[in-house]
Structures are given as C-alpha cells and as structure tokens.
Symmetry: C2
Subunit: 291 residues, 2 copies
C-alpha cells in the first residue's frame, strides 16, 4: 500500500488521515474534499499529503476509503467507480453495511476494484475535520464486512493499516453487523429521541425542566445528535431497527405491569437484572467505559 | 437555628453535614447513624459535631433532617416523632414527596413538630458517607414542598441554610413535585432499565456487546443504579410514573411509523424536534450540563 485516498475529509476521514500520517508516514495520503477550504485545512493539519476537490485525485490510489456520511456513501461509490484506477481496492466507513455492500457490488467490478465494507466504531458528539484526531480509533473495533467470495487477501494491507492505527479488526457479515448495531447503537439513539418527544408533549415539561438533572442529561445525550444522520441510519437499517421495537415495548410492559400490580419484589428483580446486564458489559468491555 | 440533627449519614446526609460545617460553623450538627463505625467516620470527617447510634441524640435539635433512603423514610419519621423535642421542626430529603408528606402529617403534630418535605436534586452514581462532599448541592435545586397550611415562617432558617450551602430553594406542592420528577427523573431510569432488559433478551446480545460504544454507555448509565432504591421510588410515585408510560409508547410508535413507511422527512423532522428539545433545555439550564 503506497497511496491511500480518503474520499471525504470530515471527522472520520480526517482522523484516519492523521492516524495514517502518524503511524505509517511512508504511505501517501490523498484527500478528496467537497470544498477547497477543507482540502487546504487537511493539508495544513497534515491529515493528507495531497488534497483536491477534483475526483481525479482518486485515480492515483491503490486503496480508496469512502468516508462521507452514510446518506452520501452510495453516490460517492459511483464516483469512485468512475475514477479509481484498475486494481485499486475500495472500502468505506458507513454505519450501516448491507445496503452499502449491495450498492458497491452493483457499481464496482470485483475483478477490477475489489470492495470490502468497513465500519470503525468510533465517533464524537461533534463532527467535522476541525474535530479530527489521530487517537480516535485507539482500542475501538473496526468492523470489516466480507461477503462469501470477498477476496480477503486483497485487503491484507487494509487490515494491517487498521491495526497500525490502534483499532481492533472485527470480521462480520454485513447483515450480522447491521443486526448488532441496530441493538447497541441505533435503538439507543431512537430511544433517547423518543423520550425527548414524549417529554416535549407534556404540558408541564417547561416547569419540570428545572428539576432535570444528570439522569436526564445522560438519557438525552444521544438525542442531541444530527437528525439527518440518524434518519439516514434508521432508514438504511430499517428491518433490523424495526426488529428491536417489539422487545423494547415488551420490556416497558414488563416494568409497567410490576408497577401497576405493586409487585415490589418483581420490580426490584427486573431492575437488578438490568443493573447486572450493564455491569457485565462494563466488566467485559472496560475500554468502552472510558471512551 | 442552633442545633441541626441529621438522621441518616449516607451520601446526602454526610454531604449536608460537611456543607453546614463549612458554611455555618456556628451551628452544631448532630448525626444519627445506624452503625457506630459510620458515626465515628462522620466525626473524623467533621461532617458532624456529635454523632450517635442512639435516637436520643435527636432530642437536642431544633431542626431534624431525615436523610435515610426513601424506603426507610417513613419508619425514621416514626422514630423522629418519638424522640424529637417539642418545637423541633422536621424535614426530609426523599425523592418522592406526597407519600412522605402524608405520613409525616399522620405521625407528627404540626403544633409540636412542624414538618416540611424536601428534596435536594443532587446525587452521584455512588452512595455512602465515604462519597459525601460539601459541594454536592452547589447550584442544584433543593425542592421544599409545603401543603396549604404549612407554616413556612417556621422554616425560614431551613431556607436560609439551604441557600447558605449553595443550593437554590424551589417551592412546589408535593403532588406537583412528584409529577415533575416522574417525567424528568423516574421515567429516564426506568427507560434505561427497560432498554437493558430488551437487550438482554436478544440471542445475539453477547456478540453484539463488543460493538457497544459511548452511545450504549450513556443510555445505560442510569440502569446501573441501585435496584432497591429505584423500586422504592417507582412504587412510591406509582400514579405519576404510570402517567408517563402512554406518552413513551406513543413516541416510540411515532418513530416506528415513520421508519415502517420509509418517511425519511417525517423521521428527520421528529429527530430534529427531539434534538431541539434537548438543546433548549441545555441552553436554559447550563448548570445541569456540567453537573
């Protein structure tokens, strides 16, 4: 791997560039930006060794990483298909995989431009190149999603680069990835948003707001995220997201029934089960507690 | 106010003692603990000027603050009724108010021991005297819940003490307090627990757990709380808690419908409404963001 092109210089693309520049300084990093100002900033930050707003810059790379938002990923794959050189491998960083992998299979010839879906499980509350940092991926999972038939040998250098920047490679089929993130990532932000919508409907919300404290702050933190991004994710992972809904209603019903019937011990046992579930997760994934 | 007795030396009682010792050093602070070890520790920390496991210590106080857990509050009020001197005022710190105020009215003679319910909106993820700190109440609301007929003049020195330790006094009827906290405090922890219960039921949870990240951490933080305490709160504020349930199911249904029908704009508009609700709350209550 001599030249990596990063198509999209936001938080993820910029952080990837910074991490590659630090850990693999011998690799050239080409950046494709929508605006010249972003290209200039990326150069100044040394997140790239060259940057342009012209997709022709992609043609020089032997690996292209699509790092635009999920809503723009398929369109960028079309652009990559038009501009990537023969033999260049292609990957992406979208937070939903089956849709993207399907689209890539439709527009990229695997004999010319092999594709492997990817999803670094890292992020921040803020977006944009100005918030990029080389340490963003440290200790975090970077999911790669081969389909049966994907030539993984072609992506050995991607795997090595991901590990070089401190992330942990995790191989999952696209559909399995999507099922997992629906549960641990997409349902949480939809739940946080649903709570805020429920709150806003109450006539006493404005007065009650003054009593909201750290618990309210924690449960609503995800609800502060980018609505367009969340909507694209929920739409892109529609089936799996909807698959989590029944379980959520059921868990609410379970708690409600214990409260309605005034079954204090049942309620305490359910809450203890919830507490234990979180404690076991924290114990098994201490790195997630800190991140 | 010359002598305050704090009945219960945990996180709240201990923090109150430390704050009173710092801000009103001329006031004697008497502590009632269940165990001698706690009484000794409170003395060593200078959270109290005297401490005992004997409820007779309450008799010397002109203000008694009941600071045991919500589940133990009514029993402690019975003890206070038996031991408080004539003229001593009584307050508490329980997170549900109507039940406690009713019980106090049943066991305390307002002509002998006037009662005023209280709820400092402050806390930590950890409990116990060892985590107490004088700054716990800084900038936080301290709700006082008079009923019609409560002699507020009798509690002027309580109001002044609460302000002296940096909290903001907020007067609310007990039932109004309970409605507000059901929405902004009790529903959030039940929701966090419900999510953990839903997650735990999924056959793929153990595998998906490895992809759980900061979003999962935030939405489940409340679910890590003390199950017995949560159960007592939910049971104690039963009607108001159940009153929030329909709104929560409805908000989930709204999001689900938009996803099922693939109405991307409706979904984005709902998520934007959620985002705005949180942003407005943060802007109006910057102190809660930091706390």
């Amino acid at each position: 791997m001599e030249r990596v092109a990063i198509a999209g210089l936001g938080l993820i693309g910029g952080s990837l560039g910074l991490a590659l520049r630090r850990e693999l300084p011998e690799v050239e990093v080409l950046g494709l930006a929508r605006r010249q100002e972003t290209a200039d900033t990326a150069m100044r930050m040394d997140a790239v060794t060259a940057a342009s707003t012209d997709p022709a810059i992609l043609s020089g790379a032997d690996l292209v990483v699509v790092a635009v938002s999920l809503a723009e990923t398929n369109a960028m794959l079309d652009l990559v298909a038009a501009h990537a050189g023969p033999g260049a491998r292609v990957t992406d960083v979208g937070s939903v995989k089956a849709n993207v992998v399907d689209h890539a299979a439709a527009v990229l010839d695997p004999a010319v431009n092999p594709f492997l879906g990817g999803h670094p499980m890292a992020g921040k509350e803020v977006s944009g190149l100005e918030n990029a940092e080389a340490d963003l991926f440290l200790g975090r999972p970077w999911v790669l999603t081969p389909r049966p038939g994907t030539d993984m040998d072609a992506f050995n250098d991607l795997v090595q680069a991901v590990e070089a920047i401190g992330a942990r490679v995790l191989l999952l089929e696209p559909e399995v990835h999507d099922r997992y993130v629906a549960l641990v990532s997409h349902l949480p932000f939809l739940l946080s948003a649903a709570y805020l919508l429920a709150v806003k409907e109450q006539p006493h919300w404005t007065d009650a707001a003054g009593l909201a404290s750290s618990g309210f702050r924690d449960i609503t933190r995800l609800g502060a995220g980018d609505p367009a991004m969340y909507a694209a994710i929920a739409a892109g992972n529609r089936e799996e997201v909807l698959g989590t809904w029944a379980a959520m209603h059921e868990a609410l019903d379970q708690l409600e029934a214990a409260i309605v019937r005034d079954e204090g011990e049942t309620l305490a046992a359910l809450l203890e089960e919830a507490r234990r579930t979180r404690a076991e997760w924290l114990a098994a994934h201490p790195e997630a507690a800190a991140g």
